[in-house]
């Protein structure tokens, strides 16, 4: 696998304390990306690691973690390797007697429905909904449209694999209100829900035009939260 870095103790990549594996390479170019160094498919600072090597790193975090999160870049670009990693981590759980959940952090551009084995080994996906309106999405990510993301959201919800929806709040660049309204509609029509997390845009690590862009104010975040609550979403802010 092309691994950018492994963080043995992460409190920000899913529920509880987790070891987070960041893979190298992304298929979109978000303007607010806080680790743009992971975007290129290859990079001198990324290293090729075997599934066994990554699993051994994970093993060193037992019994302090409740699981692993694979992130990126876009980790679904290495879906095959990730399947093997999840299989190995499941085996590690069994051998160590310490349960480890396996989560994916994804931009949702690649169809989960087409990776049945991976999804059977995966406990859930934290999905970025970057924008709802196609033009907004295109301007933010450079990608054509977000239809794949929406399909994925629905598929994951139906299959009880949607751990969390994430929205990076950046007024002017992201149509946060529209996203929230459509998420609520989708939940209603499918009859299932998932937690929604509002992430406050932070310029830390960001390169390019948004490098010095201010963070949304507390008042702005409070307005988003209030809307989400009115829509009866299970919302939290970070």
């Amino acid at each position: 696998m092309r691994v950018r870095k492994i963080i043995s103790q992460s409190t920000v990549d899913g529920p509880g304390n987790r070891t987070a594996v960041f893979l190298q390479g992304c298929n979109i170019r978000c303007a607010y990306c806080h680790n743009p160094e992971t975007q290129a498919m290859d990079d001198p600072e990324a290293r090729e690691m075997s599934v066994q090597e990554v699993t051994a790193e994970v093993a060193r975090s037992i019994p302090f973690i409740r699981g692993i999160t694979v992130s990126g870049g876009e980790c679904m670009l290495q879906a095959g390797e990730m399947t093997e990693l999840f299989r190995a981590v499941r085996q590690l759980s069994i051998e160590s007697g310490h349960p480890l959940t396996r989560l994916i952090d994804s931009n949702g551009t690649i169809q989960f429905a087409e990776h049945a084995v991976l999804m059977s080994l995966c406990d859930g996906v934290m999905l970025d909904v970057k924008a709802w309106d196609n033009a907004v999405y295109h301007r933010l990510t450079g990608a054509k449209d977000n239809s794949a993301v929406i399909q994925n959201m629905e598929w994951l919800l139906r299959h009880d694999k949607l751990t969390e929806l994430r929205i990076v709040c950046l007024p002017g660049m992201v149509d946060v209100e529209t996203i929230l309204e459509h998420i609520a509609k989708t939940f209603d029509s499918i009859g299932k829900i998932a937690p929604v997390r509002l992430l406050r845009f932070r310029p830390h690590g960001v390169a390019g035009e948004l490098k010095n862009h201010p963070m949304p104010t507390d008042e702005q975040m409070a307005r988003y939260t209030a809307l989400a609550q009115r829509l009866r979403l299970d919302v939290s802010v970070r």
Binding site: Q9, G16, P63
Partner: protein, 516 residues
């Protein structure tokens, strides 16, 4: 200048607080000591005019060399150092001596406790243990609204903080989740006080995650409560409480004495590990243990405490539930002294192996020595990782890893702790400052606690990098109060005066920050 905690006639070479008779005049006329502090200092000075303990020449020399230190317990002990009253029993039966009937409602309970605390002696003259505070309160809040209870608790906690002006004072929570426990955590977070210290007894099989997470969230806001491994610590004592800094002691008992072995001072006497282990260490331990026995005999046989004090005569403490805490400090520096050049305790296997060898010798001695009047401990000494005092320089608390030498990985740090905590039954702890992101995910911090406790780590305390309250060695002090004291202003709490120099000299601001 502080007179009130440091009186002693042993003339330890390294002690900068040696008492002279002329100091008594200074105490009386001091402008820096409060009235209460003068009274305590004078009592201490009076006690130290006596010479009633038989201290052999060899032992006296160890004192002078700073190898053995009695932590200013005084020359003629007239009460045990740490007392852990059975408050539940007191609430059930009332206290005749204090003319207190068993309380019938929350107001009566809180008044009852305030009065009783006022009369619990200890080395600091303040109560070091306030009981399982949630369990005491829980039966009295039925039918009262959260707001009502919190209003009363707020006043109660303000009273404690302003009258127990020494943060070597501890109340306990858990392991069961209770409504009282939750409300206490809420009030604690609102008030941001140094007193009382709180510790949650945590048992993953009993304490719900939600309650433990609330406790951790609170500690990342106000550095309180600490978390104690209930599974391991309840194996040592049937009914235990956490007192003072993090002392694990039997309820309805306590500890007669805490004397400490300053390992780096002893290690400095030889460069030969074999000589240290075979000759010096056994000799110093024997002297210290005999000295502790001497103190215990005086308390039990001469002082009259157990015949006359109401806590004893009314069965709120029992003589046979007191133990003797055999303290040690600076294991890290002692191990580093014998380790090959550049190898360090905490990160190097060779230094750690030496430390373990030293600990094993001390542990074996503590389990062999016949200590008088320590029935509950099987007449054995119980080891304690002593936190240090403000005059220690270059000596790390108990068995901790020195600030600056901490392993890169928090997991390695906690594994290391677990390896050494297993030797220590009466208190040892780690203090981990967390990045503020920890506050947003207390569940993650709880996962780390669960892992550490599973491996045998016994007690851990957190605070957030942006918190005003910080844990110094075990007790809490406000950084803002330290600044006040450092700029020459008077402060309410004795422990601020202790904490200010320790925060600087032990480089506590440089503790390795944890979290992502």
């Amino acid at each position: 200048m502080r007179f009130f905690l440091y009186f002693c006639t042993l003339n330890c070479k390294y002690c900068k607080y040696t008492c002279l008779m002329s100091d008594i005049y200074s105490i009386v006329t001091s402008r820096q000591l409060s009235y209460e502090q003068k009274v305590v200092a004078l009592a201490h000075a009076a006690e130290d005019t006596l010479s009633v303990l038989n201290v052999p020449e060899t032992t006296r020399r160890y004192f002078e060399q700073g190898v053995i230190c009695n932590l200013n317990e005084g020359n003629a002990p007239y009460r045990p150092r740490y007392i852990m009253p059975d408050y539940e029993k007191a609430v059930r039966q009332g206290v005749k001596f204090l003319q207190l009937e068993p309380p019938r409602d929350l107001d009566e309970l809180l008044t009852f406790l305030q009065v009783l605390y006022r009369h619990v002696p200890s080395i600091t003259t303040y109560p070091v243990f306030l009981g399982d505070i949630d369990r005491l309160i829980e039966p009295f809040i039925e039918g009262l609204s959260d707001d009502e209870v919190k209003r009363k608790l707020r006043n109660f906690f303000i009273y404690l903080d302003r009258t127990i002006t020494d943060s070597f004072c501890h109340a306990n929570l858990g392991p069961q989740a209770t409504r009282a426990g939750r409300l206490i955590l809420d009030v604690d977070r609102e008030l941001e006080q140094a007193v009382p210290n709180l510790t949650l007894k945590y048992d993953p099989a009993v304490t719900p995650d939600e309650f433990a997470e609330k406790a951790i969230y609170t500690s990342l806001c106000v550095a309180n409560p600490a978390i104690c491994n209930d599974v391991l610590n309840s194996r040592t004592n049937d009914r235990y409480g956490i007192s003072s800094c993090y002392n694990i002691l039997p309820i309805a008992g306590g500890s007669y004495t805490l004397t400490r072995l300053v390992l780096p001072k002893l290690a400095a006497m030889t460069d030969d590990l074999h000589d240290f282990i075979e000759r010096l260490l056994p000799d110093a331990m024997q002297c210290m243990a005999d000295y502790m026995s001497e103190r215990i005999r005086f308390i039990v046989e001469k002082s009259g405490f157990f015949e006359s004090h109401f806590l004893a005569t009314e069965g709120l403490v029992e003589r046979d539930r007191f133990v003797a805490m055999f303290g040690l400090v600076g294991l890290a520096e002692a191990a580093n002294h014998f380790a090959p050049e550049g190898k360090k305790y905490g990160s190097d296997p060779e230094a750690d192996a030496i430390a373990e060898q030293i600990m094993q010798v001390i542990y074996d001695f503590s389990g062999r020595y016949e200590c008088p009047y320590c029935e509950i401990a099987g007449h054995r000494l119980l080891l304690h990782a002593q936190v240090g005092i403000d005059s220690d320089h270059g000596i790390t608390s108990g068995i901790r890893i020195p600030v600056g030498d901490e392993p890169e990985s928090i997991y390695d740090h906690l594994r290391h702790s677990a390896r050494f905590h297993r030797f220590i039954p009466t208190g040892c702890s780690d203090i981990l400052p967390f990045d503020i992101t920890g506050k947003q995910n207390p569940a993650a911090v709880l996962d780390i606690v669960k892992g550490a406790f599973k491996l045998g780590q016994k007690y851990v305390a957190f605070y957030a990098s942006d918190s005003d309250l910080v844990r110094i060695t075990g007790y809490l002090v406000k950084r803002s109060e330290i600044e006040k004291w450092n700029s020459g202003q008077a402060v309410l709490q004795n422990t601020t005066q202790l904490g200010a120099p320790t925060y600087a000299s032990a480089h506590l601001a440089n503790r390795k920050l944890r979290g992502v």
